[in-house]
Symmetry: C2
Subunit: 439 residues, 2 copies
């Protein structure tokens, strides 16, 4: 049987998983690829580090040149994280005639245009199923399966770490810090969780999906984003009482040829599939104008789900499917899709708002008056007993929490109204404003 020689650069968790699939299940990949994917080299930074996998003699090396200079190696799983040296190594591998498979979403979100131009100019390809949503094959589905559609919207939970933390808070009533510590203990969050909890990771993934779906090349930094550490555990309980769960939702919606993008903690109606995504799982709803809504749910990270996506890409690359798809997609090319980002102030949503106000007459009238003057219509108001807020929010005894659910309102107006309410002498501490998914 024909052999395609492949290499792995970066033997972290995912790299080790890829090696396991190639070595332990070579018959399977051979059957699906019609050829053996032969692991020729696995490049590591430190040869002395203990490994959880036994590699055949001669495979392990700390010299990436062993891959670059070996013309027999055709496909490389480039699994180094971060921007450098990942970028430089990827460019060198492309120049050496290798097709690339990668799981590095930060690299694509940051250097996509450069890397894809280079690959195109050299007649090579870059596959990246594993870069978004781990085991969920969302890249293949959007770029191939829905190709008869204009995607109209994407809505998803794209970051497993933050979803794990939010699930913890929801299920145990834990506050953010406690839930984060548990996530770190269990290996779901890194020592520095910033990119996961502040929405950056989800914004990078959303930028990639939006590029695939709408053709527009978006700088992920321009996507409005709010982290999950911006509200109180008590807000989660209030949301629950109202019939919602709080999720870090990434969404992209096409409105009159403009793209509305946002990553933010969002109230999602209980029972709706997106609300029930637990732990480190990811989920995405794609709405196409022909296919309607298709919902995907699966493990968004982890060794074997991500390795499954990498090896599927390696097979696709070895058999020639990736080459065809890559050339058709024109990813990160100069072609202008004509789709512009919608200004943040135009974003429109229902809102959950929570204020801490002095427990005296006229306060609610002041707050609702400001909302009214900003043309924001109120759907419901809950004023909780002072005792609740004291213990839960740690505010003074003469304060009450006021929870307001609004009807649809522009982001600009909602922001302005909350700023004005904050300036009231009778309103104390941080005010909270979160989007609410309508359906």
């Amino acid at each position: 049987m024909e052999k395609t020689r492949v290499a792995i650069v970066g033997m972290g968790t995912v790299g080790t998983g890829v090696a396991k699939l190639l070595l332990d299940h070579g018959d399977r990949t051979a059957r699906h690829a019609g050829r053996v994917l032969w692991l020729e080299k696995a490049v590591v930074a430190d040869l002395s580090k203990p490994r959880t996998i036994d590699l055949p003699a001669g495979v392990l090396t700390d010299r990436v040149e062993d891959v670059i200079e070996n013309p027999e190696i055709k496909v490389v799983a480039q699994l180094i994280g971060g921007l450098e040296p990942a970028r430089t190594i990827t460019l060198k591998l492309l120049e050496a005639g290798k097709d690339i498979v990668t799981a590095n979403k930060a690299l694509l979100a940051e250097h996509g245009p450069e890397l894809f131009d280079k690959a195109r100019s050299l007649g090579r390809s870059i596959a990246f199923e594993a870069a978004v949503a781990g085991g969920i094959p969302i890249i293949a589905n959007i770029s191939q399966c829905f190709s008869a559609n204009q995607v109209q919207s994407l809505l998803g939970i794209l970051n497993g770490t933050s979803n794990f933390i939010l699930s913890q808070m929801d299920e145990s009533g834990a506050d953010y810090e406690t839930a984060l510590q548990k996530a770190q203990q269990l290996g779901y969050a890194e020592a520095d969780p910033t990119m996961d909890v502040d929405g950056s990771d989800a914004a990078q993934k959303l930028a990639i999906l939006a590029h695939l779906s709408f053709g527009s090349w978006i700088n992920w930094r321009e996507i409005p984003k709010v982290g999950i550490n911006t509200f109180h555990a008590t807000d989660m309980q209030y949301a629950k009482q109202l019939g919602y769960r709080i999720k870090l939702v990434a969404s992209a919606t096409l409105i009159n040829d403009q793209l509305e993008l946002v990553v933010a903690p969002t109230l999602v109606k209980k029972g709706r599939p997106l609300a029930e995504v637990r732990g480190a799982y990811n989920a995405i709803t794609v709405v196409g104008d022909a296919v309607g809504d298709i919902f995907f749910h699966g493990q968004g990270a982890g060794q074997m789900p991500t390795a499954s996506a990498v090896v599927a890409d390696m097979i696709d690359t070895a058999v020639g499917r990736t080459d065809i798809t890559f050339r058709r997609l024109e990813l990160w090319s100069q072609r202008d899709s004509g789709i512009a980002l919608r200004a943040t102030s135009l974003l429109s949503s229902r809102y959950y708002m929570r204020f801490c106000a002095s427990d005296k007459p006229g306060v609610l009238a002041e707050i609702t008056g400001i909302l009214g003057r900003n043309q924001i219509s109120i759907a419901s108001v809950i004023q909780h007993e002072p005792t609740t807020v004291e213990s839960a929010l740690g505010t003074a005894a003469n304060q009450v929490p006021i929870v307001i659910m609004t009807h649809q309102a522009p982001e600009g107006a909602a922001q302005k109204a909350v700023e004005q309410i904050q300036q009231l002498e009778t309103v104390h501490g941080p005010s909270i404003r979160m989007r609410v998914l309508e359906k």
Copy 2:
């Protein structure tokens, strides 16, 4: 821009949807395919029938020879339902050098080996995304995206008509006949709904998915199946009280290199995604040994979702991806996967059982005694008040319904026990036995 000339044979609901996508959104398909998919011919049985679409002059014809004899036409969406003349026309199209895209699952389930052998021997391809689960791209996902996995199980709702009827019964408390009539009025069920409600349609789709996932070529008639008209609306209410919904579940599970296949009304725990699939939607969970569980949910039928799948296949065929995939998959080939069907008597499950028994002492002891002698362990028993069963089941006034949930038990033992219980003088009318999904 390059043109690939295509044709549609069969302008029913789906064929008309395909023509709409090709004609109204030609720019979109051209962008994704890198070439124009040019609709050269659309073959209908009756030229005089009114159409909901205006086709360009010269496209509509009632002569399939206009397609067969035109060497410029490369890709044909063969959308005639049923077995003949669909089979003969498909063979002629293949012989004339056309690549085929089809939505006809019955044709594949029945004549798959003949058609695929013919296509292979002629160097042609057959794509059939639209044959299973409408808009959900389950064929592409199993055959490409999960190619690094051994699929371990499939679990799905694959028939929208029966799911619509069950949802009606669940939501409104309607009985089967009333729900079926509503489905027929709304166009979700055909005048003769047999294939949909008796599980045949789901079994054909399951046979196709199991072939893709496990390599074994299964005659769909050998799949044990139970229809949705085999239980009473009251059972749905009892199931609900126990925390379950009744769904027509199709499942394939690999156990020690043997395949367990079944299509049957099944109790699914409320809140579990499969239990919450409403109306004419479909859903499938695929479990792979690397990727874990991936859940898909979307419209399982309908004009545009199905047309979306057909046109995606036409694009894949025009650009060459289908050719690569088709040759690798060895579908319906002579290759033996070594996976045999597990005997029905070995199937194992938890069971919901419901009996109507005389309301006198010792009856419950007789029933539970028979279960015990068949090694079936009882998880819970509910004996309802006589008044309930009278009105709901229409049985005599001195009878009570007894609902029993068992622990895991072999199908053979469960069947035998129910037969023995039925023979008791104190047990009346039909007894009900349904599988229960454990997780």
